[in-house]
């Protein structure tokens, strides 16, 4: 292994590879910070350019986009409530309230430090456990995925602030939305009023509408009241010690992010939600109400986990050739173009590829952190723009981002409709968290329940005949029951 690492260092420290790394980081940064453009779109855009590159440069560039996009997605989420990628929606829960409170600089610095630390810890986990974890992830079949989705949905008991009834309404609303589209098992069409809806309501445009566009309406309502950003915050020196008070969340979220990332199809958004739920549960009861209202711990939990999930998704990709996410699928495409087949033979036939990826992530992390921190003062200045102007700007970004996500004006319509829905939901005090939870997990829950039913010949007991599924379902019961028990004790 050591020999592989030294070889990989030599390979990565070539000028052309470092240039590819920088290009990847910059493209990823831009793509991630633009709501609507995801890392998979950015990577797909650059794939034709990799035809002429050597294998190492090509892979390093694609991996750099993947990682940089994931961490940059938190920036618009924190600044204007517009998540750059689905996972960053969770960062907006607390990041945006911090911005409203005038702490944009603090929130951004924290999110960058958290991203870097989460990515670093999970990278180490990846190097040590990639092979073993990827094999373990194979144990996830339909019953296990269903149980995982149920555990995820049970987090609503923790995620909701205030009324449980309203959280349930949000959850049901989200679940209703995911039923639109083609039935995952029989292929029949459900509520498909236009062919554009065949694959369901597009997730990203809906998210942009729910979070960002609805916020624009609220901004307009608030009028021209200046934001309270103090210039002092802008100059606040970022340092790793700022993360120290959150060390327990950082560690916990790194492990959660990595583990969820390893499970193919689970991905960064679920990692963030689960990590956020557990951070809130682990906090002191007196602090719990501050989550969703600008608790920095919430930003840390989300950012650490979604970046840790990136390395996690690389484990099944490198060790088994199984893509853990849409971006990982594009990465596999990039590898096959180079004549390389990610999978069990990659470590045997081309060990330089996985090790170069490890090393490039190690080298890329400080570069990304530096770019991120240098950008903070500039980003914070955005909050000094008068609300009227910023509302216009964000509205433009929403529409542009929705269009760019698939080059289609239908997505813009979805964003506008969800912006209006989001506005009214806020008016009646329904938090977007349960809706996101349902949107992320609904499809996984339904399709895998029905697959499990086919395998088990329509016997529900099949779900509890598998150990991992039992553990996850029991976890869900505990998560739901514990606040109730707490209330009973009082």
């Amino acid at each position: 292994m050591l020999e592989n690492f030294t070889n990989a260092f030599e390979l990565v420290f070539a000028v052309r590879v470092l240039v590819a790394l920088m290009i990847g980081v910059l493209v990823g940064y831009c793509v991630g910070a633009m709501p609507g453009l995801t890392s998979s779109i950015g990577m797909a855009l650059l794939i034709p350019f990799t035809f002429e590159l050597d294998a190492i440069s090509a892979i390093v560039m694609l991996v750099a986009i993947y990682m940089a996009a994931d961490y940059a997605a938190g920036i618009p989420a924190i600044l204007v409530n517009a998540p750059g990628q689905p996972a960053a929606a969770v960062s907006a829960f607390d990041g945006y309230p911090m911005t409203l409170r005038g702490e944009a600089g603090k929130a951004l610095n924290l999110s960058i430090m958290s991203s870097a630390t989460g990515a670093f810890i999970s990278l180490i986990l990846l190097v040590i456990t990639a092979q073993a974890m990827a094999r373990a992830a194979l144990a996830f079949g339909p019953a296990e995925y269903f149980a995982l989705a149920v555990l995820g949905l049970s987090l609503i008991a923790v995620l909701s602030t205030g009324s449980t009834l309203k959280a349930l309404i949000g959850l049901l609303f989200g679940l209703v939305i995911v039923t639109v589209g083609i039935d995952p098992i029989r292929g029949s069409l459900r509520f498909v009023v236009t062919p554009m809806l065949i694959d369901g309501i597009p997730f990203l445009p809906a998210l942009i509408g729910l979070f960002a566009l609805s916020e624009v309406f609220i901004m307009l309502e608030r009028g021209n009241e200046r934001s309270r950003t103090e210039l002092g915050v802008m100059r606040a020196k970022p340092s790793l010690s700022a993360l120290w008070p959150f060390r327990r969340t950082v560690l916990r979220s790194s492990f959660i992010g990595y583990a969820v990332g390893v499970i193919p199809g689970a991905g960064a958004a679920i990692a963030s939600l689960v990590s956020y739920g557990f951070a809130k549960r682990a906090s002191k009861p007196a602090d719990r109400d501050s989550y969703g209202k600008g608790n920095p711990d919430g930003v840390v939990a989300s950012e650490v986990a979604n970046n840790a999930a990136v390395s996690g998704a690389l484990a099944p990709l490198l060790a088994l050739g199984v893509p853990g996410s849409a971006s990982a699928a594009v990465l596999i495409g990039g590898l096959t173009i180079q004549g390389l087949q990610p999978g069990p033979m990659l470590f045997v036939n081309n060990p330089q590829i996985p090790y170069s990826i490890f090393v490039s992530l190690l080298v890329g992390l400080p570069i990304m952190t530096a770019i991120g921190l240098l950008g903070v003062p500039l980003w914070v200045r955005l909050t000094r723009i008068p609300p009227g102007a910023i509302a216009t700007l964000v509205a433009c970004i929403c529409v542009l981002g929705a269009f760019a996500s698939s080059n289609n004006s239908f997505e813009v319509l979805v964003t506008v409709v969800f912006g209006i829905i989001g506005y009214f939901l806020r008016k009646v005090d329904i938090h977007p968290a349960p809706i996101v939870l349902a949107l992320v997990l609904g499809y996984m829950m339904e399709s895998n329940l029905r697959r499990a039913m086919i395998i088990g010949n329509d016997n529900l007991l099949f779900l509890v005949s598998r150990p991992i599924a039992i553990v996850l379902l029991l976890g869900a019961v505990l998560v739901i029951a514990s606040p109730l028990l707490g209330r009973l004790r009082r």
């Binding site: 998979s40 779109i41 990577m43 797909a44 794939i47 034709p48 035809f51 194979l138 144990a139 996830f140 079949g141 339909p142 083609i182 995952p184 098992i185 029989r186 292929g187 236009t194 062919p195 554009m196 065949i198 694959d199 193919p264 199809g265 088994l320 050739g321 199984v322 893509p323 849409a326 699928a329 594009v330 990465l331 596999i332 495409g333 096959t336 173009i337 004549g339 087949q341 999978g343 069990p344 033979m345 045997v348 698939s406 080059n407 289609n408 399709s447 697959r451 086919i454 395998i455 010949n457």
Partner: protein
């Protein structure tokens, strides 16, 4: 009203004239290549390779656009709105046929089937430690314990599902194994690797590495000849099962309905030239695909035959459930 018609007719005829006159000058500006898959999969990569090669030959940009959704229904919905001036093309695979069958809006004539590129035979794979040793063994076990075995594949009424229906029929185990539809063929292979499906129906390129690493075995391939990469795997016929081997996954290029034959021919010439370049031939070999270029007429005939089979077997599948 009459005036409008006249203008339309004049405009139409000028368009016709200009279309035939400029066929040699094709392409006339950037080409738009609409894919029905999301970025990253095998179909996407092949299409992007093709776009790159076509760009070098024609000297114009080929802009690739991903419009996934409903096995190509979303792509078709978009392409039907586009003027058929030869500047827009799309990707196509066998899964379009299942979609056309279910669709009330589109049928075979909703697009021009311009050219075929590659073929890919179906095969049946099991985990290395599975107690299913051969096709015969699988059939015997399925008959002995109906509903006890599962077969994982892509979707419902998909190319792979039809291929399975053909095998079921030929081996007399119709409905004895549970068909579990996954979101992609890759997911189905993973489910077999994890032991969640007893058998997976897939392609050579998707299982070869797992066979090499000792994680999987391939028990039969729906082809006339054995695969060079899997020399130990018998064909269905060798194992004693008579299954139609012309039913294979195909990938090709389509154009909006009404695109002129001249444009399609010019397009296919470029596609054929690109496919025969060293880079693409190498890619086709590496991906374990079978080169199978077909021009507009042979491809259309091929697709019509495939479609008949898809309809026949699609109805059979419907009646089984």
């Amino acid at each position: 009203m009459n005036c409008k018609k006249l203008v339309g007719a004049v405009l139409g005829s000028t368009l016709l004239i200009s279309a035939s006159a400029t066929a040699q000058d094709w392409p006339n500006g950037d080409l738009r290549f609409i894919l029905h898959v999301s970025p990253g999969g095998a179909t996407d990569v092949l299409a992007r390779r093709l776009a790159d090669g076509m760009q070098q030959i024609t000297g114009t940009n080929v802009v690739v656009e991903n419009q996934p959704g409903g096995s190509g229904a979303r792509q078709l919905a978009l392409m039907s709105l586009i003027e058929p001036d030869g500047q827009t093309i799309g990707s196509v695979t066998a899964s379009h046929l299942g979609m056309l069958q279910q669709s009330e809006e589109f049928d075979l004539s909703s697009i021009e089937w311009s050219c075929g590129m590659v073929l890919d035979p179906y095969l049946l794979a099991v985990r290395a430690d599975s107690d299913i040793q051969s096709l015969e063994d699988m059939v015997a076990k399925a008959k002995a314990n109906p509903g006890g075995l599962t077969i994982g594949g892509f979707g419902e009424a998909s190319g792979g599902h039809v291929a399975w229906a053909m095998f079921e029929e030929a081996s007399g185990i119709v409905g004895d194994m549970n068909w579990v539809p996954y979101d992609s063929v890759g997911d189905a292979v993973v489910s077999a690797l994890g032991g969640h499906s007893d058998v997976a129906i897939a392609y050579v390129g998707l299982v070869k590495q797992y066979v090499e690493s000792g994680d999987m075995r391939v028990i039969g391939i729906q082809s006339d000849t054995r695969s060079e990469s899997l020399p130990d795997t018998p064909t269905y016929a060798e194992a004693g099962f008579d299954v139609d081997t012309t039913w294979q996954q195909f990938r090709g290029v389509i154009a909006p309905a009404g695109t002129s034959m001249e444009h399609q021919q010019a397009l296919c010439d470029v596609v054929e030239q690109t496919m025969q370049s060293d880079e693409l031939m190498q890619y086709v070999r590496d991906s374990e695909l079978t080169y199978g270029f077909m021009g507009p007429e042979p491809f259309k005939a091929f697709v019509e035959a495939q479609n008949e089979a898809a309809i026949y077997w699609g109805e059979r599948l419907e009646s089984i459930q």
